[in-house]
Symmetry: D2
Subunit: 343 residues, 4 copies
């Protein structure tokens, strides 16, 4: 039974695996002081055209978020995020555990807008309240939407004006940047953000996220934080090898894998609409949110795994289907074929 | 140039790598809910003959330490450890960052003794001071010594008597349990400790440590903590596959790899003494600490990497040589041959 | 110019001051080990008819809240509170700073209801999310409303059923319990809550809040937390003397002062409505929220201080007037007289 | 029975009490925004001849220490202190609870020296360890010794050279500055330290410590931290009135009270030596540490309270006698008279 539950069901893309195997018995210095890690960092800095940026490779996304926020903020400073943001829900209080409040706002379609930020600034005015300091967004968002370049620039502008840090969770940045509707390059993202990360786990790596800190004021002593939070991988080269593979040749593999997941999602989404199903939101990335009657969801689940996002009216669910770098087109075709039965 | 700097210079043992490759394109549930992880946990529980124990697989050692201590202690409770303990020095304040003081005591040869614990209890007597609650030891220790079974039982006894938690950092537990002088089994360790972890990173895995919580009072809600500290690996099966491979057939591979590292260390240590060099301490595990005149250290370093532990008198260093599952005997032989030149 | 800005503008009631003066040159043990503190604790336990309760006296309300929540919760556990709750807004992130998320819900008229709690429980279902564990309410609330006895019992019931802690912030508990519409006694509050505190600062003391922990499971080692958070007053008797004075003779002074503040507020509120002003909410405690045209607010402000709660439509403010144990009736009369001018 | 147990057994000096009484029914803004607080701050800034300094008044010493260290340090930064330092022992882990390690060193006679600092710097060299950043000393120290002006300047110099913050706990600063042997003025202290506090609790106030931040880089947003840690006193004027009283007329009362305590201690210390008792250390401040045979300690304890510091040999104790602003000379005389019996 094929699973569309998430984009981290399989291991790694073969090219990554091959490079891990090839280098397996080499001896390297630990903790990211090896040459593979250095190479990966250089490839990323070159790709975003910013050799002043600092790159750090760590294992997981919650880890990057909590380490970054812990390192960037003073204890009285707070994060602004949309209520659906990953840090607001699915990180088990990781941000509060390092001492910071997240001021959550509604946003729209999973996105945060300057007026949302402004409303938080307007109501946090003295030392009785936390001081908003870091704006957290995800691109693509938790509900599969993608920020336009203009939206990113607008967010960057209000942040700069108010001395706020713009931080972008890029667990699915590949999918966002290869979205049909996207105009932003990774270099654009790097220019807009003070820091962002590039997701490997959901884009063909065994694991790994590459944090890019472009704001020099946020770079100092960052590696202490990676260590302190238990995130400094002894065999750091495992991260280096993976990101070097993804980012070789102008990040060819990185984008290829992400694009594939989008194309699969797009085909699947079209399959749903053509068979009369309503979408929660029109996705341009690798997550599709469709409204399915409960009975149809259950029948479909006999052949394909997906996940219930939330109930919808009395008799339906919003169901999430996620495609990935590893999704075979024939599984998408089979799912669409199955849909026709319910038409 | 061969490196004796640490026991995590290479990747994984071939059997582990093979199993990772074989399963690479299978789809599994995330976050350790997969069958490989279940299998690994069962193998470990069976090996220690305790099916009430709870096993958690995480990526790194500092991570296990900080998560466990955070989960086990209330905020006013403190850790007792020897001054050379890993958490006292080389974890960048990870334990304090989750709010706990480490009360450090001298110990002897890297080991903690009941009288050290008692001295802390005697001086921490009211609410103006922290309340000692968890005893942290490493086996083998940071300086390569191994606790005897009786020593472990004595520590366990004083802990039980005083309602203290005994926690054993087993980053090098394999090396301890396969030490020539060791009488304790892993089941013994499990009986003495309230919780301990079994190191994979330094014993043939790409990464991974298996935490075993034997005290049921410490098991509740533990997985929340793994998530909150950013340590819940999305592709959790990577850990499951590695530990299942190490612990199949009564942990055959686990002990074989550890034993090899000890044999190599033992041979190397003998080489040093036979060639007239003094040891800091007689090691029975995979770390050798030898006193080398600075000039000899420098000549040797042209052919072999090792690390300066600390200066010794004016003209010498204490130098650490670490062997591992991957150390070829011929490199040990070459090093010993090189020593003869300085005799 | 008289101020209705808050209920802590003056010092202490004369009886309290007299007792402080009288005992000034006596020598007492520090840190609350003195006889006055013991007496105060006994008076409170006797008043709530629960000699198993534990009472702790500390200086301020934010302090009690953060110490209690830090002591009662494990790091992955979260607080449920209404969005207007003091800990959600006006404590500068004190709760997050000790590591806990506050899951905020809308509630109604500043009050939390069982269905609000249930909605949080329904959506927090696994280890990816925080675990809701403590329900925080204020009585009276931030907007001056008072929980009925039935409402308190209902909250207590859902908490007990779901193994949640019910914690009541009683910064203005005196005002709540002497509210016209109130049927609950302090003993009732003590029965419903696992812990609650009795506000002194806003009811005639120089400072001081008395935390009452009725749930024995929450009592262990509490004094360590008071010390650790810097809240253990060296001259602890200052707190003891004040609460002993308030709670002598069945808490006669405590209720007398609170009742006075309510009567003043009630008179003031009636003055507003009789002169044609609309209330935000009908208050039964010592805070009055009235809607005033901006021009009237400004004219009134020439004679009386009050505070803008928030804007209301384009041309008005919601304005808060707070009365206290110290509010002279003649100032209320003068304010009402002034209102007539705007009629 | 008279107590020499500590210097906070009584309430406040009469002049302070009078000013509290006189202003009791005035209405003031809360949270230190009142005129008394402003006056106190100005008096202190004028007294140290530094109008760029920032002064904050809070209730207790542990509070000042934890708030300052929390506000001044980033999470990976550590404190250097002597093992006898108050934060190392008697603050129930307050500093670790806000996330920071204290690297403790032996020092001498309760004092820290540049070579102690250097030894910590020499061994904390990379991101695997905490980064030493703040030097904590007390003046007078926990064992009653007083830093010379030269010693303070030397500490200041090594701190500046290594970009470390020098923080002085002045719970007994009055006693230090009025010590016979002292040459430093408070203005000197202010020049040497990046921040220090002036103790009121142990020098005639009901409570209160005045933190002075001279380093402008450490001043930003400090009041948020006071609030977040629950230390922002609602009736902040209570602190203002007390410090204004102590610092009026060039801090006349502050020094007068401190000097009295020293004179009493000095007389007492002389009484001990003249009657043949050995001192642990020759104190020049208000704490006397004397070695008493157990039998004599017990006989003396029938008439005078003091506290056992620690056992000394088999048959003696080191006993601490503390004098204060409130110690009547006749009690010292009576104690000395009693000593003669044991001669």
């Amino acid at each position: 039974m094929y699973s569309f539950v998430n984009d981290y069901s399989e291991g790694a893309h073969q090219a990554i695996l091959d490079n891990l195997i090839k280098s397996n018995m080499e001896q390297s210095p630990g903790y990211g002081e090896d040459e593979y890690t250095q190479k990966a960092k250089n490839l990323i800095k070159s790709h975003i055209k910013n050799d002043k940026a600092e790159v750090h490779l760590v294992v997981g996304g919650t880890q990057v978020n909590l380490i970054s926020i812990c390192a960037f903020l003073r204890p009285h400073e707070a994060v602004i995020a949309v209520t659906t943001g990953h840090i607001c829900v699915h990180e088990a209080g990781a941000i509060e555990a390092v001492g910071h409040r997240i001021v959550s706002v509604e946003g729209q379609d999973g996105k945060l807008y300057p007026e949302n930020i402004q409303s938080v600034l307007d109501t946090h005015i003295d030392y009785h309240m936390v001081k908003p300091k870091l704006v957290y967004i995800s691109n693509s968002t938790e509900v599969g939407t993608v920020y336009t370049l203009e939206e990113l620039k607008n967010l960057s502008a209000i942040c700069k004006k108010n001395n706020l840090i713009l931080y972008i969770d890029g667990a699915r940045l590949g999918s966002a940047l290869t979205s049909e509707t996207n105009q932003a390059t990774m270099a654009d993202v790097a220019k807009c953000a003070d820091a962002f990360y590039i997701g490997g786990t959901k884009n063909g790596a065994l694991f790994g996220e590459a944090l890019v800190i472009t704001n020099p004021l946020l770079q100092e002593d960052f590696k202490y934080f990676i260590k302190q939070k238990g995130a400094l991988l002894a065999k750091g080269r495992l991260l280096g090898i993976q990101f070097a593979t993804l980012f070789e040749n102008e990040a060819d593999l990185f984008y290829k894998l992400a694009r594939h997941s989008n194309i699969m999602a797009n085909k699947l989404q079209q399959g749903f609409t053509e068979n009369g199903f309503k979408l929660l939101i029109t996705s341009t990335s690798n997550q599709v949110f469709v409204i399915l009657p409960k009975t149809i969801y259950e029948l479909l689940s006999l052949e394909f795994k997906s996940s219930i996002w939330e109930p919808y009216c009395d008799d339906s669910y919003i169901v999430r289907f996620v495609t990935s770098w590893a999704t075979p087109e024939k599984e998408v075709d089979k799912l669409i074929a199955a849909l026709k039965k319910f038409k």
